[in-house]
């Protein structure tokens, strides 16, 4: 998983981002000012930087000019269109405005890591190996036949491991936003996945909410 540097001067939000990214399997580095961020970048070479704009010493827009080769996602309270345009034009991969949904943050982080080839595409769940790049699932090195929806469900759960996914979120991930089917469809497919891949101990049902892949 990726090594992510969080540059955020608010201690509470910094700590929260660390906790969230850690439970989904990422390694985190922290910095509370622009100067501190630059020294961490020099020493640790992170895979991705989550950067606030309003920092005590150096503005986020200035920091991005001093960094090359590392993808950056702005996480800021500045919601004006010209700030977003300035951020993205300046070379950021994405721009997230506070307050944000943490599951969305994780999804965006994963997208950028995937784009830069920093995401580990082979995931292991006991005897099962999931190849996220080639859309294949193996059990004891034997390829298993899984449907597109089953694979997408597995993909959503594994990239959000240890985080509860609601049925609606899983439905959107596997069937798309325009699917008008019943949320219970998810239950049927999860049952099949559990049985097919022997994932009973990994995929937990969260009462009245959804499912969580626990590792």
């Amino acid at each position: 998983m990726g090594k992510i540097l969080i540059v955020e001067d608010d201690k509470s939000i910094n700590e929260l981002m660390v906790r969230y990214l850690k439970i989904t399997g990422h390694n985190c580095l922290t910095a509370f000012s622009g100067g501190e961020a630059l020294s961490v970048i020099k020493q640790e070479k992170p895979d991705l930087i989550l950067l606030d704009i309003n920092l005590p010493d150096i503005n986020g827009f200035e920091i991005i000019k001093l960094i090359s080769g590392i993808p950056i996602i702005y996480v800021t309270a500045r919601s004006a269109i010209n700030d977003r345009v300035k951020g993205l034009d300046g070379g950021a991969e994405d721009y997230i405005v506070k307050p944000f949904d943490f599951q969305e943050l994780i999804a965006r982080v994963n997208v950028v890591l995937r784009r830069y080839g920093k995401e580990d595409h082979l995931r292991h769940l006991g005897e099962t190996t999931i190849d996220l790049k080639n859309f294949k699932v193996y059990k004891n090195n034997n390829e298993l036949n899984v449907t597109k929806q089953e694979f997408e469900l597995l993909h959503a759960l594994i990239t959000n491991k240890n985080v509860t996914m609601t049925r609606q979120q899983l439905l959107n991930a596997a069937w798309g936003w325009d699917y008008e089917g019943d949320e219970r469809t998810v239950d049927v497919h999860i049952q099949r996945l559990r049985k097919k891949l022997n994932l009973d101990s990994y995929i937990k049902t969260i009462y009245k909410i959804g499912y969580r892949l626990e590792i």
């Binding site: 309003n54 005590p56 309270a77 010209n82 943490f102 985080v163």
Partner: protein, 370 residues
């Protein structure tokens, strides 16, 4: 484009429209008045000429007297032509121009404006006599043009002046809104995030307690911001209640918050709003207490001095604090509203707030009006 910028541009367009329309109306009406005055004078002159010319017209076809009169008038810069039917009998007009057949008209000839009056002034048997009177009115046109240039310059100057004043006023007015939105988003992100963390994360009992505590702290922080904003809003609206605030009571509460403070109180009471005065002292003490706890308060008449031996403020920061300018973000420890709020409170009590710093520490002097 930000909302205040849009509003600013719209307001400026409206103001400039009003300025330029009123200047144009003013310039136009002044021109009209001058024009009417010149017209009246010209008609009177034309009537006088017609009356005199009528007396010179006899049954003979010789118009020697009329010719002489015409030449005399030319020396006085009065120009006219007299026609018998369609035939010009006398003229002293130095231009070759075909005049319009209307009674009063303005013609432009060689970049000059002339007022032209036509009238049939005498009938003799089957003959009729008419006059074309012409007067150079270029002066009122050139005056009008000068006035337009002058008014345009004045309009531009007023617009620029108003644009600058309005820009700063609107920026100042909208700045707190932007700042507050930013200040509120930060704790809101924490509250939303920690709530999601409890709801969706695979976390231990201990982590749930930690997240709950963070939510509680952020909610207090938000409440604090809102309280300060409400106080500032009330201050700006002038909604404060004046009464005798007894210093013993006030310092008693302060002692509860900062037990190490020493107080030498020689003032019985201060006239002002109790809540605001308490907020003023708690804010000032909270700021200075961060840098050291050797704080001593002295009151004498209407002057209250807070002295912190451990604190030190550099010259640049002193200037910012004493002029109530925006404190740079890297030097703000809280929300940056504290000192601004203190200045507002002191201002409402018609007093002054002044910071000084030397080797002996920091002195904050508040002088209330007697």
């Amino acid at each position: 484009m930000k909302l205040w910028e849009k509003n600013y541009i719209l307001t400026m367009i409206l103001i400039m429209t009003v300025i330029y329309c009123s200047l144009f109306v003013n310039s136009y009406s002044s021109f009209q008045m001058n024009f009417e005055r010149v017209c009246t004078q010209a008609i009177q002159t034309e009537k006088t000429i017609s009356y005199t010319a009528k007396n010179f017209i006899t049954e003979t076809t010789q118009y020697k007297k009329l010719q002489l009169y015409c030449e005399t008038m030319a020396t006085e810069n009065i120009h006219f032509s007299i026609f018998e039917g369609d035939n010009e009998i006398v003229t002293n007009i130095p231009y070759a121009y075909s005049f319009p057949q209307s009674n009063v008209s303005v013609i432009k000839y060689e970049n000059k404006h002339y007022l032209c009056i036509y009238e049939t002034f005498a009938h003799l048997h089957d003959k009729f006599f008419s006059i074309y009177y012409i007067e150079d009115i270029e002066e009122i046109y050139s005056n009008h043009q000068r006035q337009i240039v002058l008014f345009s310059c004045a309009g531009a100057f007023i617009s620029v002046l108003l644009a600058i004043i309005l820009h700063f006023a609107m920026k100042k007015m909208y700045y707190p809104v932007n700042n507050i939105a930013h200040e509120l988003r930060t704790p809101l992100t924490s509250i939303q995030g920690y709530a999601q963390y409890i709801l969706y994360g695979k976390i231990s009992e201990e982590e749930i307690l930690y997240a709950g505590e963070q939510i509680r702290l952020e909610a207090i922080y938000m409440n604090d911001i809102i309280d300060r904003l409400l106080i500032m809003e009330n201050l700006k609206n002038g909604q404060i209640i004046y009464s005798k605030v007894y210093t013993n009571d006030l310092f008693g509460i302060i002692k509860e918050h900062y037990p190490s403070i020493t107080i030498d109180n020689q003032t019985e009471y201060i006239t002002g709003d109790r809540t605001l005065l308490l907020s003023l002292f708690l804010n000032l003490l909270s700021n200075t207490n961060r840098n050291g706890t050797q704080i001593h308060i002295t009151t004498h008449d209407n002057i209250i001095t807070i002295h912190n031996k451990d604190d030190h403020i550099d010259k640049k920061m002193l200037k910012i604090l004493n002029t109530n300018r925006t404190i740079p973000k890297n030097k703000v420890h809280g929300k940056g509203l504290g000192v601004s709020l203190c200045h507002e409170i002191v201002k409402m009590h018609k007093g002054t707030l002044y910071y000084t710093s030397d080797s002996d520490g920091v002195y904050i002097t508040i002088t209330f009006s007697k």
